[in-house]
């Protein structure tokens, strides 16, 4: 006990160096835990985006690609699904419900999703949570739009506002559907998923703004007014993908096979949970690389501590010699130096955890808003505690070397010094 007090006091007498060492360790620990937290929470956040959907069906292509564009609004579809194929499969006896998804247009950088009202009823996120309207109602008219929470927040839109959709998915677009504005009729409650960054309109709405377009541009001399368009048959010819819920999950693999062998058109059905797992398997390599790099940074932090302790020993030859002279055994000198390094590592780890909490508290809302990533800071996971224990273990290991030197040279060194 006396040794520990002594170690603490000794560190305090060199507080500037000690503080810097603690800071170096703390920053490295923050990085290590931050990477770990981001990794696990990003996974959880992705996994939370869609639940309750058994299959996603789109044009044949890569399964991960289909998952990314249909659910996470990342990337673009390879092809569309014919409306007739969709209706055929939606009427399959095993299918309980379907939600059509039509992507391709945007509004000031936010994706516009054409869908049916089944979307509000059947789309689930997190632990089977349904979508909730914060204000207003679901779309009814062809030109009604329901906004995700983030779209409404960031663009400052209110109910009854009139908005113009741009053709294509770019942030800046010169091809505007400005002759047929939409009206905001509802805003969804925040979900922490890409739904927040989406503007929802009916499939008929998507069809309506494209009836007088051909090949990505308005047909000259054929501009139909919103009122004229309303009179047309607005059944879409294609959709991008659709979500499927089954009556009984027992049929899931059989239906998947059936859809994959659909004769009218090459389609791909995926199980979203399985495909997400494939994605993580792909990402695993990059994640591990990040983790290794942050682990190396911790080693750098501990090396800084080692350097500081060794330099300190040089300056403390007299101190050690005096301790020996007043009766300290070599073992106690050893314990003193080891205790110092442990204290430094412990303080560094603790400060690192605090720094991470602070950083998450500050950056959390921004992450949630920009990336739809909800990152909780507390409590640390078992894996994180293991990482912390590893840091402390390495700290103790690093302390062994200066402790051994002090043990070995304390007497001879201190007595023969010339000042």
């Amino acid at each position: 006990m006396a040794i520990l007090t002594l170690a603490g006091k000794s560190l305090w007498s060199r507080r500037l160096t000690s503080a810097l060492v603690v800071l170096a360790i703390a920053l490295s620990v923050t990085l290590l835990l931050g990477v770990e937290r981001l990794r696990t929470q990003a996974r959880a956040s992705f996994a939370n985006t869609l639940s309750g959907t058994d299959l996603i069906v789109g044009a044949r292509g890569g399964p991960i690609n289909l998952l990314l564009y249909s659910v996470f609004r990342i990337g673009d579809p390879t092809n569309n699904v014919n409306w007739t194929s969709y209706r055929t499969l939606a009427a399959h006896p095993q299918v309980a419900w379907t939600v059509p998804l039509s992507l391709g247009d945007s509004h000031r950088g936010f994706r516009v999703l054409g869908t049916s009202r089944d979307y509000f009823q059947h789309y689930r996120y997190g632990r089977n949570q349904p979508l909730r309207l914060a204000e207003g109602r679901e779309f009814e008219d062809v030109f009604d739009a329901v906004l995700g929470a983030e779209v409404a927040d960031r663009l400052g839109y209110r109910l009854d506002q009139s908005i113009v959709i741009a053709h294509g998915a770019g942030e800046v677009s010169f091809a505007l559907h400005d002759d047929k504005p939409f009206r905001v009729v509802g805003v969804l409650a925040r979900t922490g998923t890409p739904v927040d960054q989406t503007m929802h309109v009916s499939l008929e709405g998507i069809e309506a703004i494209h009836v007088d377009w051909r090949g990505g541009a308005p047909v000259p001399g054929m501009r139909l007014s919103a009122e004229q368009v309303r009179q047309l048959d607005l059944t879409p010819k294609t959709i991008t993908a659709f979500l499927v819920g089954l009556k009984s999950k027992t049929a899931i693999f059989r239906l998947q096979r059936e859809i994959n062998e659909f004769s009218a058109e090459p389609l791909l059905a995926i199980l979203p949970g399985l495909t997400l797992q494939q994605l993580w398997d792909l990402m695993g390599l990059a994640e591990n690389a990040l983790l290794v790099v942050s682990g190396l940074v911790v080693l750098v932090g501990l090396t800084v501590m080692l350097a500081a302790l060794l330099t300190g020993l040089n300056e403390r030859r007299r101190e050690m010699a005096i301790l020996r002279a007043v009766g300290a055994r070599p073992g106690q000198i050893f314990a003193l130096v080891l205790g110092e390094s442990l204290t430094l590592a412990l303080a560094g780890a603790a400060l690192g955890v605090l720094l991470l909490q602070g950083a998450l508290l500050l950056a959390g809302p921004a992450l949630q808003a920009r990336l739809g990533l909800a990152i909780a800071g507390w409590p640390p996971s078992g894996h994180e505690l293991a990482l912390l224990a590893g840091v402390l273990g390495c700290g103790a290991l690093a302390g062994l070397f200066p402790a051994w030197r002090a043990y070995r040279y304390s007497v001879a060194d201190g007595m023969t010094i010339r000042i």
Partner: protein, 195 residues
């Protein structure tokens, strides 16, 4: 004639595409099997697909007595779900005998095979006709377990690697009320963890 050839090519192309993108029914790979599990309510349904090569060591129609014997033994083994999957006792499951399907069975698709050369030809034709795109012989087994305490089904051990030494891996896809998960089993790591 020309028309016929082009449709064949188209069919072959379509066939190839199907196989590359099919996830559930992976193309016929020797050494690799798939197992699809669905847990709903009290019942656990399992569908196992193995190449005949991994099960009996050949993929032609059994003509010699020893081949017929091998197929018979394999079918008996696969039918007995306890030799394939070991469910935890706590779940109190009862199993119906597995339903085995294979081209190698006498009443199966392979009944008409006669000569090796013809065999190949026939099989290729069959590959196009078959919805599953099989150009080889497979074993497909479906099991159904009814469990009194399905909530205790957390881990299932598969005994296939002990039974079939040629099997190198088993890709398991599971759907339970808790979600969807996949897992790759290899000899030594033969326990399925359900989500």
């Amino acid at each position: 004639m020309k028309h016929l050839a082009s449709t064949r090519i188209a069919a072959a192309l379509g066939f190839a595409l199907t196989n590359t993108t099919l996830l559930a029914a992976e193309p016929h790979v020797h050494g690799a099997g798939t197992l699809q599990l669905v847990l709903e309510g009290d019942s656990l349904n399992a569908e196992l697909r193995l190449s005949a090569m991994d099960v009996v060591g050949f993929e032609h129609a059994p003509r010699e007595a020893k081949h017929k014997e091998a197929v018979k033994k394999a079918v008996a083994m696969l039918k007995d779900s306890r030799k394939v999957l070991a469910l935890p006792d706590a779940a109190q499951c009862t199993a119906a005998p597995g339903a085995v399907e294979s081209e190698l069975l006498e009443d199966g698709h392979a009944a008409g095979y006669k000569h090796d050369k013809h065999d190949k030809h026939d099989k290729h034709e069959a590959g196009h006709d078959h919805a599953d795109g099989e150009a080889h012989a497979d074993f497909e087994v479906t099991y159904r377990f009814d469990c009194r305490r399905p909530e205790t089904l957390k881990q299932i051990k598969t005994l296939l690697f002990q039974q079939l030494p040629r099997l190198e891996r088993l890709d398991v896809e599971m759907v339970t009320p808790a979600g969807q998960r996949s897992q790759r089993l290899v000899p030594g790591q033969d326990t399925i963890t359900l989500p």
